[in-house]
C-alpha cells in the first residue's frame, strides 16, 4: 500500500534527521572537549599569578583568562541590572494596564527590538558613543558603559516578554483573591501577582544573563578589546570571554594560546548551557508538577 511505503520513508527520514543533528553536535562538542579539557586548570585562568593575589587584585594577570572572565561578569551583571527594572515594569504594564491597541503597538515594537541583529545593536551603541564624543566630551570613546547600555537594549525584550507572559498566565482566582479583600491594583501586583509569577520572571532573567554572556557582536563594536586587564572603570575598555575566543582564533601565535582558546570555549559553553538549561527547568516548574487530570487521555 502506498501509505505504508510513505510511512516507512517518513520514519527513516525522521530517524536520519535526529541522528544527523545530534551526531554533528556531539562530534563538535566531543572535539572541543578532547582539545580543551587538557588545558583546563588553574593556569588557564590565572596564568602564573597566585589565585588569591589575582582575585584580590593585588597582581595583574597577563596570561590567563581571569581579566576576560571578570570583564564578562561585570558587563553582564551591569547590563542585566539595567534591563531588569525597565523590563519588569514594562511587562507589568503590558499585562495589567495596557489597552488592546497599546498591546498591539508596543508588542510589535518589542518584537522588532527582539529581532534586530546583534551587530546592528552594536552599531547603534557605537553611534551613540560617537554622538557623545562629538557633543558632550571629546574624551569619550567606546567603553564598558556603552556596552552595558547596548547589551541592555539587546536583552530587554527577553525580560519584558517573560514578565508579561508569566503575569498573564496567572489564573483568575489568584488575580481576584486580594482584590476581593479590598486591595488596590498596585497592591495586588506587588503582594500577590509578582511573587506568584516569580519563577517565570526569574527564568527570563537567567535567559537574559545567558544571552549577554555569550554575545560577541555587540561588545565588538562597543568597547571590548583583546588586552585591558581587569575592568577598572565604566569609561574604560575591558576584556570579555567570547571576544577572546574570536580574537584567538585568528591571532594565536603558538599552540599554547590556541589551547587556551579551546579552554575558554569550554568555560563559555559550560556557563551558557547551564544558564539556559536552568531557565528552562525553572519555566517547567511553573507549568506545575501536577500533571494531566485522569480522564484526559493525552498529555
Amino acid at each position: 500500500m502506498k501509505i505504508r511505503i510513505l510511512g516507512g520513508c517518513l520514519r527513516m527520514f525522521s530517524w536520519g534527521a535526529v541522528l544527523l543533528l545530534t551526531g554533528s553536535v556531539l562530534v563538535l562538542l566531543g572535539y572541543l572537549l578532547v582539545k580543551g579539557v587538557p588545558s583546563l586548570g588553574r593556569e588557564l585562568i590565572f596564568g602564573q599569578v597566585d589565585v588569591l593575589d589575582a582575585v584580590l587584585l593585588r597582581k595583574r594577570v597577563f596570561d590567563g583568562l581571569f581579566p576576560a572572565i571578570a570583564g564578562t561578569l561585570s558587563v553582564v551583571l551591569l547590563s542585566v541590572g539595567l534591563a531588569i527594572p525597565v523590563g519588569v515594569c514594562a511587562g507589568i504594564y503590558m499585562s495589567e494596564f495596557a489597552t488592546v491597541l497599546q498591546q498591539r503597538v508596543f508588542g510589535l515594537m518589542f518584537d522588532i527590538l527582539a529581532g534586530i541583529p546583534s551587530i546592528v545593536i552594536g552599531l547603534f551603541g557605537f553611534s551613540g558613543a560617537i554622538f557623545i564624543h562629538k557633543y558632550v566630551s571629546n574624551d569619550f570613546r567606546p567603553c564598558m558603559a556603552v556596552s552595558v547600555v547596548a547589551l541592555a537594549f539587546l536583552v530587554l525584550p527577553y525580560i519584558t516578554r517573560t514578565t508579561q507572559a508569566s503575569l498573564q498566565g496567572l489564573s483568575i482566582q489568584i488575580r481576584q483573591a486580594a482584590l476581593a479583600l479590598g486591595a488596590t491594583r498596585v497592591q495586588n501586583i506587588f503582594y500577590v501577582l509578582l511573587p506568584q509569577s516569580f519563577s517565570g520572571i526569574l527564568s527570563g532573567i537567567i535567559l537574559a544573563i545567558g544571552r549577554c554572556a555569550e554575545d560577541t557582536a555587540v561588545i565588538m563594536l562597543t568597547g571590548v578589546v583583546a588586552t585591558a586587564g581587569i575592568p577598572g572603570s565604566l569609561l574604560g575598555s575591558y576584556e570579555a570571554l567570547p571576544f577572546y575566543i574570536y580574537y584567538i582564533s585568528s591571532q594565536y601565535t603558538d599552540s599554547a594560546e590556541l589551547m587556551s582558546g579551546y579552554g575558554a570555549a569550554i568555560i563559555l559553553l559550560g556557563v551558557c548551557a547551564i544558564l539556559f538549561l536552568l531557565a528552562f527547568i525553572i519555566k517547567r516548574q511553573l507549568a506545575g508538577p501536577a500533571g494531566p487530570e485522569p480522564g484526559r487521555f493525552y498529555v
Binding site: 500500500m1 502506498k2 501509505i3 500533571g291 494531566p292 485522569p294 480522564g295 487521555f297 493525552y298 498529555v299
Partner: protein, 233 residues
Amino acid sequence: MYNPIKIRVENLTFSYHKTPIFENVSLDFEAQTITAITGPSGRGKSTFLSILNRLWESQPVARMQGKVWIYLDGQWIDIYSRTLSKPDLRRKVGMVFQTPNPLPMSIYKNMAFPLKLTGMADKALVEAKITRALEQAFLWDEVKDRLNDSALGLSGGQQQRLCIARALVSQPEILLLDEPTSSLDTGAASVIEDLLVSLKERCTLIVVSHYLEQVSRIADTALKLKAREFRQV
C-alpha cells in the same frame, strides 16, 4: 434473555500516578446489549472505557494489570497481546467522546477518514459504507445534500451523531460512548438515546452516563463505579 459474552475483563487493577483507580475488577459484558456505567465523576469511568480500546497508553504514568478479552471472529482475543494491533483494535472497538470531535474537514471527508486509514480505494464501496453508516446514525436525511460542507458547521447534536456515524463506518462490533449526551440539549439527547437503542442489533454498547433517568431508559444492565469497584444496580 441470554446473550453470549462479548467482553470479559479479568482481575483488572489500574493505577494512575500511583493512585489506584481499579482493584481486581472482573466483569463480563453480554453481546448486543447496552451496559451503562454510572457513578460519581472523576473516579475512573472514562478511564475504564479507555482500557477497552487501549487509548490510555498515550499516558506514561499509568499502570495496568489484568486481562481484557474480546470475542471476535469466532475466538477470544487478548487485546493486550500482539495478536491485534492498536489501530486494528480501534476499528473493532469504536469510541465516541463527551464533546463531539469532528475533524476540521467536510462531512464526507470525516466519514471517509477511517476508510482512508485502511487504504480503501474503491470509491463506490466507500460511498456505500458512508451512506449506510449515516443512515444507521439517523443523520443521512439531514446531511445528504451537504456532504461537502464543513462538519464544524453542524449543530451539537448533529456533530455527535456524525461522530457516532464515523465510528460506525468501520463496522465495529463494540461501541464505547463516554457521556455522549452531556453536552447536548434534551431534544438532541433523546434522538441519540433512540439511536443507541437501535444500534444494539449491530453492536455491543457500553455507555458512561451520569443521567440516571437516561440509564433506566436505555440500559439493559447498569454498573455503578464506586470505591474502585463495580456494583450491579
